[in-house]
């Protein structure tokens, strides 16, 4: 059970949060310009890394804000947490 440091509320138990998949996948601004393959890349293709992964999380039972998390999936170490729109930390 993680202890997650919500950037708006502080440290809270994992059960207040919901994971929202891979981070930094921007919705294309002009979807109609994309080929089926390009659209499919956005829509379906997700990494599933063993190691350092960038993820979206939502404080559903708290402030309901979305934020980003850098997590090592091999040992569940949370390496960084930052707000939506902020630059991801470099490794």
């Amino acid at each position: 059970m993680f202890l997650i440091n919500c950037p708006y509320c502080g440290e809270r138990d994992q059960q207040e949060f919901k994971a929202g998949g891979e981070a930094h996948i921007e919705r294309p601004k002009q979807p109609t310009e994309l080929s089926d393959d390009e659209w499919a890349e956005y829509l379906f293709m997700r990494k599933n890394i063993k190691g350092v992964q960038f993820e979206r999380w939502n404080h559903t039972h708290g402030c309901r804000k979305w934020f980003n998390m850098v997590r090592d999936t091999s040992n569940d170490e949370i390496k960084a947490i930052y707000k939506m729109g902020e630059k991801p930390p470099t490794r």
């Binding site: 059970m1 919705r27 294309p28 979807p31 109609t32 659209w39 829509l43 979305w66």
Partner: protein, 1001 residues
């Protein structure tokens, strides 16, 4: 005839408080402070159970939670009965009853004992190998296998006890209140850390509390005496909370631990009522100090499982702590010095110790010299090769051990005895440590796995950290404490320890016998009857991974999780396969450390608290009018209102007819309602719905369809424009929370530039839906001032009005196809409004209807229900709702996906109407649809999604999804059922009032 084997008064046993209890129907006596195990031993009862597979007689082996054999059924036949309880952990109380498990008719005479003689036929993997064929016989095998599976019996009636959960936050959690845990907790608390100290036993002090040996001194005192004083001082320390009878079950990441606090299990039945039995503590600690101690290892030799064969440390604890001797002729079998402590403990109380058998060649420690002086015979370099006695040990046979320890030589000596204390060294209790994700390493010298890489802020101190001697323990504890608590000095700086212990140990995982291995029974896992032979067989059959060997032989898979024998299993595998223990690793230690009751896990979340439910403000009226309810998401919704003993079908037919002929009333409060405000609200709706919203006039309503980005229908509902920058969106009942989350997600992450605010107002409003040709007249009676003419208040529009002092929002919208209104008021007025409508509607025979009738009425109109007629694979095109997909809008959620090659295929499943050729037959929802009955295999074209008998059309109607269905109008298809084929025809899904004339009726 039982004899009392109590040898001395112990300060932990209250001999003035005599307690009677029953074991296997017979009454015995013990004292306050006894465990079931110590009380039975005091009554000279060793035989307490039968093993799982061979039904071998088994006795009490240990004095703690690691007990593999003495597991009993507590209070059998009552609603408080509990199976598989370790007798070593049960504190006795007046009226306690317990019985042996896994034996019939009795533990003394067990028919299943025949398995022991058939044991050559039950090797590892017996079940896998034997019950494979013929496959058709499995049902017959299963009956017998199920019959012999399991140990105790589950309770069959409701648990009368109360359970609880509690969250605890602390700076320092100390697990285990032995000498290390006590010193750690004391120093943490004294340095202003909010500290919690937990121990599974009812007394603090661990094994040091009965360490009365004259050879070890702490500050010139006997260890037990010194520790007692330390414990006394704990009382006055602030910041320190102590919980006894509290067993940590799980250690998760980020220092989140679960512990079970036992509150009433040691009390008499009359004192248990109305109290919390067990509490699950959910502990989040900044730092964790593990002081879980070490478990003594047995030795693995032929027939090492007979009642009377115990751990040497247990023999000592029963004698020193409980004042009970386990035998009158005692023998010890050891590979290190600790058995000598147990022997001396007995000797000092005048108990006969026949001999000590030591596989080492010698030991020069003071304690060994002292034992020599007592005249107790010591057999150096000897090993036990066999034992005798079926229900109680009566002798051991020993032989000289060869120099390399792999064989025995010379003559066999038989020693008569009734108790054998075995000492195979100590295994650090690292279970919790590894559960936390931290990693172990193998210490070649001590032959133990010890903590190595920590993943969270934690330390392992005392013997669970690999320190077994008191001087080592104090020294290492001191520097670990300073380091982890970041403090300069501790109480431990001034502790002087004198000890005389040697670490010398001769480690042989599997001791040889004079018989070949195949003819012996050296048990590694006592509870599951896994022997060294089974492990070797598994290796011969090609198993290499320790995890595979474990599952194949069931070693370590009992309720004790192999706390005693796992290390030997690893050792035997390493020796046999010729690999290093460190490379082999361990099997995974999983929570819980000791079994938890289901009650503890669920806590108070039982019965109506199992899952939360929501009721509408009108709920009392529905209950008072005998409505039947159905669960919709978390809501309890009125399903139908039977009168005069109607069936559901009869009630729904009546309600449906009434709604179309005169007036119906529905509680629609559960629909999701989201208040949307902001200068970009219209643009936002344009992006989330498939249709256009910019031109919707204030005061008008519009139906919207929401897709996922993959183009599939996600939700639908009517949204009303309340003002220039203000909308009220309705969603499906079940989808409300998810829709809000999804919209918030887009606003926060994709379109943060939009000025839009979302607020869930589902619970703020109660909604009454009035429908039918007389609904207008009824509303007129309630709000005479409101102009209800089609000109002023047309279909798909909105008005604000007052009913007396109550403000209400009225939408003229319809889910039934009839002229109807949805009236929204503050939730607190919901019931009042409902009753007003009923009263006003009496002259029109206003009929309350539930969700079932609502579903029927909308199906007559071909309106979809998201989640019933769609399943996450339906696009609006598949639903034949092309009219709602804007061609003009550049983008909306899911738009691009509607032009993918897959979503554009002609032969996707599409929504159609179905009519049965025999109008009285109602199709089953979910039934498959085919076109050719002679095909093999038959091709499934789709399935029925909604099906009803329509009282208004007097025929059966259905909605279905059918591959290529939109081009099949009029086509004959079949619905094959178990014993008949139903002929159906594809039809327009709008069965009733296709021209929507009734909306303005």
């Amino acid at each position: 005839m039982t004899k009392n084997l109590r040898v001395k008064s112990s300060e932990y046993i209250d001999e003035t408080n005599r307690i009677s209890f029953k074991f296997n129907g017979k009454t015995y006596h013990g004292f306050k402070g006894d465990t079931l195990a110590s009380a039975l031993l005091a009554n000279n009862v060793h035989l307490v159970g039968r093993s799982f597979k061979y039904h071998r007689p088994r006795g009490i082996m240990t004095s703690g939670s690691e007990e593999p054999n003495a597991i009993v059924q507590i209070n059998p036949g009552t609603n408080r009965t509990e199976p598989n309880v370790r007798a070593t952990e049960v504190e006795i109380y007046e009226g306690l009853e317990a019985s042996s498990q896994n034996c019939w008719p009795s533990v003394e005479f067990d028919i299943g004992g025949i398995n022991n003689f058939l044991s050559p036929f039950f090797p590892a993997g017996f079940y896998y190998k034997t019950f494979m064929w013929p496959a058709s016989f499995w049902k017959k095998y299963e009956f017998f296998i199920r019959h012999s599976a399991g140990l105790g019996k589950s309770p069959t009636s409701r648990d009368p006890d109360i359970y609880d959960h509690r969250n605890i936050h602390c700076d320092v959690l100390v697990v285990g209140a032995g000498i290390s845990g006590i010193l750690a907790a004391k120093n943490a608390a004294k340095n202003n850390f909010k500290t919690l100290l937990v121990d599974e036993k009812n007394e603090l002090g661990g094994s040091t509390i009965y360490e009365n040996s004259e050879f070890n001194k702490i500050n010139n005192k006997v260890p037990s005496e010194w520790l007692n004083k330390e414990i006394e001082e704990l009382k006055d320390i602030k910041n320190l909370e102590i919980k006894t009878r509290t067993s940590v079950a799980a250690y998760h990441q980020y220092n989140y631990l679960l512990a079970r606090e036992n509150l009433t299990d040691h009390l008499e039945a009359k004192d248990k009522t109305n109290k919390i039995r067990q509490r699950l503590l959910k502990i989040r600690a900044k730092k964790v100090i593990l002081a879980t101690g070490a478990l003594e290892r047995p030795l693995i030799f032929n027939n090492n499982d007979r009642p009377g064969i115990m751990l040497s440390s247990a023999v000592k604890k029963y004698s020193e702590f409980y004042g009970v001797v386990c035998g009158s002729r005692n023998v010890f079998f050891t590979n290190n010095d600790s058995a000598y402590e147990s022997a001396l403990s007995l000797y000092n109380k005048g108990i006969n110790v026949e001999a000590i058998i030591d596989i080492r060649e010698h030991s020069g420690s003071k304690i060994v010299k002292k034992v020599k002086e007592t005249g107790i015979k010591i057999y150096w370099s000897h090993s036990v090769v066999d034992t005798a006695g079926y229900k109680r040990l009566n002798s051991v046979s020993i032989m000289k051990l060869s120099n390399d320890g792999t064989s025995v030589t010379g003559g066999k000596i038989s020693i008569s005895c009734d108790c054998l204390g075995v000492a195979g060294g100590w295994t650090p209790a690292v279970h919790l440590y590894t559960q936390s994700g931290s990693k172990l390493k193998f210490d070649e010298e001590k032959k133990v796995f010890i903590p190595n890489q920590n993943t969270s802020e934690q330390i392992s101190v005392g013997s669970c950290g690999g320190d077994f001697k008191i001087d080592e323990i104090i020294k290492n504890l001191n520097h670990k404490l300073k380091d982890t608590l970041n403090i300069e000095e501790t109480d431990l700086d001034n502790i002087k320890v004198e000890i005389d212990q040697e670490n010398s140990k001769r480690n042989i995982w599997l001791l040889p016998s004079d018989k070949p291995l195949g003819k012996t029974k050296p048990f590694v896992d006592y509870q599951n009857d896994a022997t060294a032979n089974d492990i070797k067989l598994a290796l011969r059959e090609g198993f290499r991974s320790i995890e595979h060997v474990k599952r194949y032989t069931t070693t370590g898979m009992g309720t004790d999780q192999g706390k005693l024998g796992n290390m030997h299993a690893l050792g035997i595998i390493a020796d046999t396969a010729g690999v290093k223990m460190g490379e082999l690793g361990t099997t995974t230690f999983r929570p819980p450390y000791t079994p938890l009751t289901f009650g503890t896990i669920v806590g108070r979340n039982v019965g109506k608290f199992f899952d939360i439910f929501r009721r509408t403000p009108m709920n009392d009226w529905h209950v008072g009018n005998k409505a039947e309810f159905e669960n919709v998401g978390q809501w309890k919704r009125a399903w139908y209102y039977p009168v005069n003993g109607e069936t559901m079908h009869q009630a729904v037919q009546r309600e449906s007819k009434a709604a179309r002929e005169s007036a119906g009333i529905l509680d629609a409060s559960t629909l999701g309602k989201i208040d949307i405000q902001g200068s970009d609200a219209s643009e936002f709706l344009n992006r989330v719905y498939t249709n256009a919203w910019s031109k919707l006039a204030i005061g008008k309503c519009r139906y919207g369809l929401m897709l996922n980005e993959d183009g599939m229908v996600y939700d639908d509902g009517v949204t009303t424009r309340l003002g220039e920058n203000h909308y009220l969106m309705t969603t499906t009942t079940g989808g409300a929370a998810n829709v809000l989350s999804k919209l918030e997600d887009y606003l926060q992450t994709e379109w943060p530039e939009l000025d839009v605010y979302l607020t869930s107002v589902t619970d703020h409003y109660a909604t009454v839906s009035l429908c039918g040709p007389n609904s207008k007249k009824i509303l007129k009676k309630i709000i005479p001032d409101l102009d209800l003419s089609d000109g002023n208040f047309p279909h798909m529009s909105f008005k604000e009005a007052n009913i007396g002092n109550i403000q209400c929002r009225i939408m003229r919208i319809s889910f039934t196809g009839e002229h109807s209104y949805e009236i929204n008021v503050h939730a607190g007025y919901g019931k009042d409004l409902w009753e007003k409508c009923i009263e006003a509607g009496k002259e029109f025979n206003i009929t309350p209807y539930g969700t079932e009738t609502m579903h029927l009425l909308r199906a007559e109109k071909g309106f979809i229900i998201v989640g019933q007629d769609t399943d996450g694979t339906m696009t609006p095109i598949d639903l034949q709702m092309n009219w709602i997909v804007s061609k003009k809008k550049y983008d909306f959620i899911g738009k691009r996906s509607l032009y993918r090659s897959d979503t554009m295929k002609e032969d996707r499943k599409q929504l159609v109407g179905l009519l049965t050729d025999d109008p009285s037959i109602v199709l089953e929802e979910g039934a498959q649809i085919v076109s050719d009955l002679n095909q093999s295999p038959i091709e499934m074209l789709g399935h029925v999604t909604s099906s009803y008998f329509s009282p208004n059309l007097n025929k059966s109607i259905a909605l279905a999804v059918v591959r290529g269905g939109k081009d099949m109008m009029g086509k004959k298809l079949f619905v094959p059922m178990e014993n008949k084929n139903i002929n159906v025809t594809v039809a327009n899904p709008i069965f009733y009032d296709e021209k929507n004339e009734r909306l303005n009726a």
